[in-house]
C-alpha cells in the first residue's frame, strides 16, 4: 500500500471520527486500528532491513518532494501512534461521554494522529517540519479543550509558543542543512554524513535542530509546558503528552543521529541537556501529589534519558534508545489511562488523598501494578531489560560515573513514582473519596490492560519484539545493522547490581516520601525563579511592549489614519517619480471623443463631494463619482469591470447610509482652518501624484503579450469567452482562492470589531 495514501487516509478520516466521536461510539477506535493493521503488514518487509518509500512532486522548483519512507524507526513510531491511538480512542469514547464539543475534539485528535504519522514517515526535512508544526497546532487545540478555564488557555498557549518557537529554530537549521547538502531528503543526508558533519556550520545546525527537538520533547529548561499541559483531558495526556507527540523531538534526534553521531557539539548538547532534564524531572516529580503531574514529570525524566542515550555514540546506545522508547510508551500510556480511571471513578487524582482502591476496583489495581512494575524496571517486565540497557550504555560511555550516577537518581525516582501510582493509591486501608469508586467499563479498561500485558509478554518473550521491531529501528538510529540479543537475564553483571541499588534507593525514598515531598515543595525558589515564571514574565513583557507601541502609534482617530496613509502613499509616489525620473507626457491625440462628457460628470461629482454639507450628501456624491468611473469603463470596452464597479458602489452606498443612520456621526465639519488646510494639502498631493503616475503609465507603449495570450487561449483552454471571468476562475484560480479567503476573513474581522464596539458602548460583560 502506498505510504502517501496511508497518510492521506489518516487525514481524511477526521470527519468520520468527528461524526462517530460526537455520539461517543467506540467504533471510532477502528480508525487507528485499521491504520495499525496496515503498518503491521509492512513489518515483515522492514524486518528484512528494507525500506518502503513513496514520493510525490510537491514544489519541484525548490527541490521539495512529498517523500515518505518507512524504515525500522518509522515503523516503531507508526505502530506506537496507531496502537496507543486505538487504546486512547476506545478509552475516550467512555471517559469523555458527558463532555461538550466532542466532534471538534475527535476531529483534532484524528488530525493530530495523522500529522504524527506524516512526521515520522516523512523523508523530506521540510515535509517533516510541516507535519511537526501541525502536531503543535493540534496539541494546542487539544490542551485548550476547555477554553472557558483560564489555566487551560494559558497551558495551550504556552505549549504552542514553546513548541512552535522551537520549530522555527529547527526550520532555520533545516534550511541551512538543506543548503549545505543540496537536498532536503533525509536518507540523502545520511548517505553524505561525513561531508555534513565536517562542515564548519555543523555546530550551528546541531544547535538549531536541538532547540526544536528540546522544545518539543520538553527538555529542561523548556519543560514546564508539558507539566502544565496536564489540564487537558486524560486521553490527550496519555496520547500526546506521554506516548507520541513529546517523542517527536526524540525522533528527530534519533533520525539524524547517524549524521551527527560523535560530533562534539552533538554529544555535549544532548548528554548535557538530557542529564539536566533527568535531574530536574526527578526533583520536580517528588514535589507533586497530583497523579497526572507526577506522571508528567516522570515523562520528562524519560525524555531526558532518551536524549542522553542518543547523545552517547555507539550501537549499544541505539539499542537502549529504541528499547526504552517502546517500553516507556507502553507503560506510561497505560499508567496515564489508569490515573484517568482513578480520577473518573473517585473524583480526585490527588495521590495523598487516595488509598486502598484495590477493594473497590480490583481490575484497575491489577493493571496499575503491572504498569508500575514495568516502570520500576522489575523482571519479568520488559521495563527491566530497558533499564539494564540504559545502565549498560552508561557504563560503556566515556564519563561513565557521571552518566550512571544521573541514571541511578532518575531511575530511583521512577521507582518512587511507580510506588505512588500503584502502592499509594491501591494498597493500604481504603480512604474516603468524593465518589464511590468501582471498576470502569470495558472500553476504558481494555486499552490499559492490553498495554500492560504487552509489557509482560514482551518481557517474557523479548524475541517477539526484538527481531521484528527493535533491531531494525536501532539499525536506523545507528546508521548500520546491529546485532544484539535482547533478554531479561544477562547473568550477574554490574547492571544487575545497579538495578538492585536502584530498587533499594527507590523503595527507601518512597518510605519517606511524605517528608521528602513537604521539604521539596517548601522550596519557594522554584515557583519564584523557575522557567514557568520566566515564561510569565516574558509574556508580560511582550504585552507591555504591545501596549506601549499601540499608545505611541494608534491614536484611534480614523481621520488621522487616513491622513497618514494617503500622505505616505503620495510622498512615496513622488519620491519614486523624482528619483527614477520616470515621468513622461503621453500623446493626447484622439482625445476629443463623446466620452469626454463623462469626465465632466466626474469632475462635477468630485466638486459635489467637496461641497457636501453633511455625510449623507457626501456619500451620495462619492457614489456618483464611482458610477461615473463605471460608465467610463463601460465605454472603454470593459463591461465586467463596469458591472463590478456598479455593484460595489450600490452595495457600499447602501451599507454606508445604514451606518450613518445609526452611528452618532457629527453632522457638521468641526475642523479648524489649519486642519482643513493640512487635509486639503494631503488630498491634493495624492491627487497630483496619482495623475502624474497615470500620465506616465499612458506614455509607455502598451505591452500586449498577456492580453494576446488570454485572448488566444481563453476558449481553447478554458472554454469561456468572458476573459475577465476566465482569468478569475481558471487561469488565476489560486489567486482568487486566496482573495476570497481574505475577503471572508475581512468580513469576520469586521464583524468582530463591531461586536467589540457594541460591547464597549453598551457596557456589557467582556
Amino acid at each position: 500500500m502506498d505510504l502517501a495514501l496511508v497518510v492521506f487516509i489518516a487525514f481524511a478520516s477526521a470527519p468520520l471520527a468527528a461524526w462517530l466521536g460526537g455520539r461517543s461510539s467506540p467504533v471510532m477506535a477502528c480508525v487507528p486500528l485499521v491504520l495499525a493493521i496496515c503498518f503491521l503488514g509492512f513489518a515483515p518487509l522492514v524486518a528484512e532491513g528494507q525500506a518502503v518509500t513513496a514520493a510525490r512532486d510537491w514544489i519541484p522548483s525548490l527541490g521539495i518532494t512529498a517523500a515518505f519512507r518507512l524504515d525500522g524507526l518509522s515503523l516503531v513510531f507508526a505502530l506506537l501512534i496507531t496502537g496507543v491511538g486505538t487504546a486512547v480512542f476506545l478509552y475516550a469514547s467512555l471517559y469523555l461521554k458527558a463532555y461538550p464539543r466532542l466532534p471538534r475534539f475527535y476531529a483534532a485528535l484524528t488530525l493530530f494522529m495523522a500529522a504524527m504519522l506524516g512526521a515520522v514517515l516523512a523523508d523530506d526535512l521540510l515535509l517533516l517540519v510541516v507535519f511537526w508544526e501541525l502536531t503543535s497546532l493540534t496539541s494546542f487545540l487539544l490542551i485548550g479543550f476547555s477554553p472557558e478555564k483560564a489555566a487551560s488557555r494559558r497551558a495551550a498557549q504556552q505549549g504552542l509558543l514553546v513548541t512552535v518557537g522551537g520549530g522555527l529554530a529547527m526550520l532555520a537549521g533545516v534550511i541551512i542543512l538543506g543548503q549545505i547538502a543540496g537536498s532536503y531528503s533525509i536518507s540523502g543526508l545520511i548517505a553524505r554524513k561525513a561531508e555534513i558533519a565536517g562542515h564548519p556550520l555543523a555546530s550551528t545546525i546541531i544547535c538549531l535542530l536541538a532547540a526544536g527537538a528540546f522544545a518539543k520533547s520538553a527538555q529542561a529548561p523548556l519543560h514546564p509546558w508539558l507539566a502544565n499541559a496536564m489540564v487537558a483531558p486524560t486521553p490527550v495526556s496519555a496520547f500526546l503528552h506521554s506516548a507520541t507527540m513529546v517523542k517527536l523531538g526524540v525522533y528527530l534526534l534519533a533520525r539524524l543521529s547517524p549524521v551527527f553521531e560523535g560530533h562534539q557539539s552533538w554529544v555535549l548538547l544532548l548528554t548535557g541537556f538530557g542529564g539536566l532534564t533527568m535531574l530536574v524531572g526527578a526533583v520536580l516529580a517528588l514535589r507533586e501529589t497530583d497523579l497526572k503531574r507526577v506522571l508528567a514529570y516522570s515523562t520528562i525524566i524519560s525524555l531526558g534519558t532518551l536524549v542522553l542515550m542518543i547523545g552517547i555514540p555507539g550501537d549499544l546506545s541505539a539499542m537502549a534508545v529504541v528499547t526504552f522508547l517502546v517500553v516507556h510508551a507502553l507503560y506510561k500510556a497505560c499508567l496515564f489511562l489508569v490515573a484517568g480511571i482513578v480520577d473518573h471513578e473517585t473524583g480526585t487524582r490527588d495521590s495523598a488523598a487516595l488509598g486502598g482502591l484495590r477493594h473497590a476496583m480490583p481490575l484497575t489495581a491489577l493493571v496499575a501494578f503491572a504498569g508500575s512494575l514495568s516502570m520500576a524496571g522489575l523482571p519479568p517486565f520488559i521495563g527491566f531489560a530497558a533499564k539494564e540497557l540504559v545502565y549498560e550504555t552508561g557504563l560503556a560511555a566515556s564519563t561513565s560515573w557521571l552518566v550512571v550516577a544521573v541514571a541511578l537518581v532518575a531511575n530511583a525516582v521512577m521507582v518512587v513514582i511507580a510506588c505512588i501510582v500503584s502502592w499509594r493509591c491501591f494498597a493500604g486501608p481504603p480512604r474516603p473519596t468524593p465518589r464511590k469508586p468501582h471498576d470502569p467499563g470495558v472500553a476504558m479498561l481494555a486499552g490499559p490492560l492490553v498495554l500492560a500485558s504487552l509489557g509482560l509478554v514482551f518481557g517474557l518473550a523479548p524475541w517477539l519484539v526484538s527481531d521484528t521491531l527493535i533491531l531494525p529501528a536501532a539499525a536506523a538510529v545507528a546508521g548500520h545493522p546491529i546485532d544484539y540479543n535482547l533478554a531479561l537475564w544477562h547473568g550477574f553483571t554490574p547492571m544487575l547490581l545497579l538495578s538492585l541499588l536502584t530498587l533499594g534507593l527507590g523503595v527507601a525514598a518512597f518510605g519517606s516520601w511524605t517528608r521528602i515531598r513537604t521539604q521539596l515543595s517548601g522550596v519557594e525558589q522554584i515557583a519564584l525563579w523557575g522557567p514557568d515564571r520566566v515564561y510569565d514574565r516574558a509574556m508580560e513583557g511582550l504585552q507591555s511592549v504591545a501596549r506601549w507601541q499601540t499608545q505611541a502609534i494608534q491614536s484611534g482617530s480614523l481621520r488621522s489614519y487616513t491622513g497618514y496613509t494617503v500622505a505616505v502613499a503620495a510622498l512615496a509616489g513622488f519620491a519614486t517619480l523624482i528619483s527614477q525620473g520616470g515621468f513622461a507626457w503621453p500623446s493626447f491625440a484622439g482625445i476629443w471623443q463623446p466620452e469626454l462628457v463623462i469626465a465632466v460628470l466626474l469632475v462635477a461629482a468630485t466638486l459635489a463631494v467637496l461641497r457636501a454639507r453633511n455625510f449623507v450628501a457626501g456619500i451620495a456624491a462619492a457614489g456618483l463619482v464611482g458610477f461615473a468611473v463605471a460608465l467610463l469603463f463601460l465605454f472603454q470596452g470593459a463591461p465586467d469591470l463596469a458591472f463590478t464597479q456598479f455593484s460595489v458602489e450600490a452595495l457600499s452606498i447602501v451599507i454606508l447610509l445604514a451606518i450613518v443612520g445609526r452611528l452618532p456621526f457629527r453632522d457638521s465639519d468641526y475642523r479648524r482652518r489649519g486642519e482643513k488646510l493640512r487635509d486639503g494639502t494631503i488630498a491634493l498631493g495624492a491627487g497630483v501624484m496619482a495623475t502624474l503616475v497615470m500620465l506616465s503609465v499612458l506614455a509607455q507603449p502598451f505591452d500586449a503579450r498577456l492580453s494576446d495570450f488570454f485572448r488566444a487561449e481563453s476558449v481553447p483552454q478554458a472554454h469561456g469567452r468572458n476573459l475577465v471571468n476566465v482569468i478569475i476562475v481558471d487561469f488565476r484560480a489560486l489567486d482568487t482562492l486566496g482573495e476570497i479567503a481574505v475577503l471572508g476573513l475581512a468580513g469576520i474581522a469586521a464583524a468582530a470589531v463591531i461586536a467589540g464596539l457594541r460591547r464597549a458602548t453598551t457596557g456589557g460583560t467582556r
Partner: protein, 132 residues
C-alpha cells in the same frame, strides 16, 4: 431604517436581486458576469431586505449563519481544485465534461464558491452590524 418605503420596496427587490444574481453567476463564463458580481448583487438585495427588518429577519431568511456561507464557499472552491490533483494535474486545473453537449465543469463549482463567499463576507459584517 424602518421606513415604510424601504419595507415595501425591499420585498420586491429581494427576489429580483437573487434571481438576477444567479443569472449573472451562470452566464459569467461567456458574458459579463460571474461569481463575484453575482455575489455582490445578491448581497445587496439581501442587505436591502434586512436593513429595515433587523438581524433576526436576516438569520431567518438565510436559515444558516452567514459565517457558514463563507466556510462553505471556501470549501467548494477548494474542492473544485481536487479533481485536478486526482488526475495528476496541478491543483485547481479545471476539468470539463460535455454530456450531450451540455458543458459541465469544476469551474462552475469554483465560481459558486466565490459567489457564496462574497455573500457570506458582506452578510457576516452586516449581521453583526444590525441590531438583534
Amino acid at each position: 431604517m424602518n421606513s415604510l418605503i424601504l419595507l415595501t420596496s425591499s420585498r420586491i427587490v429581494l427576489p429580483v436581486a437573487i434571481l438576477f444574481s444567479v443569472y449573472v453567476l451562470l452566464r459569467g463564463h461567456n458574458e459579463p458576469g460571474g461569481g463575484f458580481i453575482g455575489g455582490l448583487i445578491a448581497a445587496a438585495g439581501i442587505a436591502v431586505h434586512s436593513l429595515p427588518r433587523g438581524r433576526n429577519a436576516l438569520v431567518r431568511l438565510l436559515r444558516v449563519s452567514p459565517k457558514a456561507l463563507i466556510g462553505s464557499g471556501l470549501m467548494l472552491a477548494l474542492l473544485s481544485g481536487l479533481p485536478g490533483l486526482l488526475l495528476a494535474e496541478p491543483f485547481l486545473q479545471h476539468q470539463w465534461a460535455f454530456p450531450g453537449g451540455l458543458p459541465l465543469s469544476t469551474t462552475l463549482v469554483f465560481d459558486v464558491g466565490v459567489y457564496l463567499c462574497v455573500i457570506g463576507a458582506v452578510l457576516t459584517f452586516l449581521a453583526y452590524y444590525l441590531e438583534a
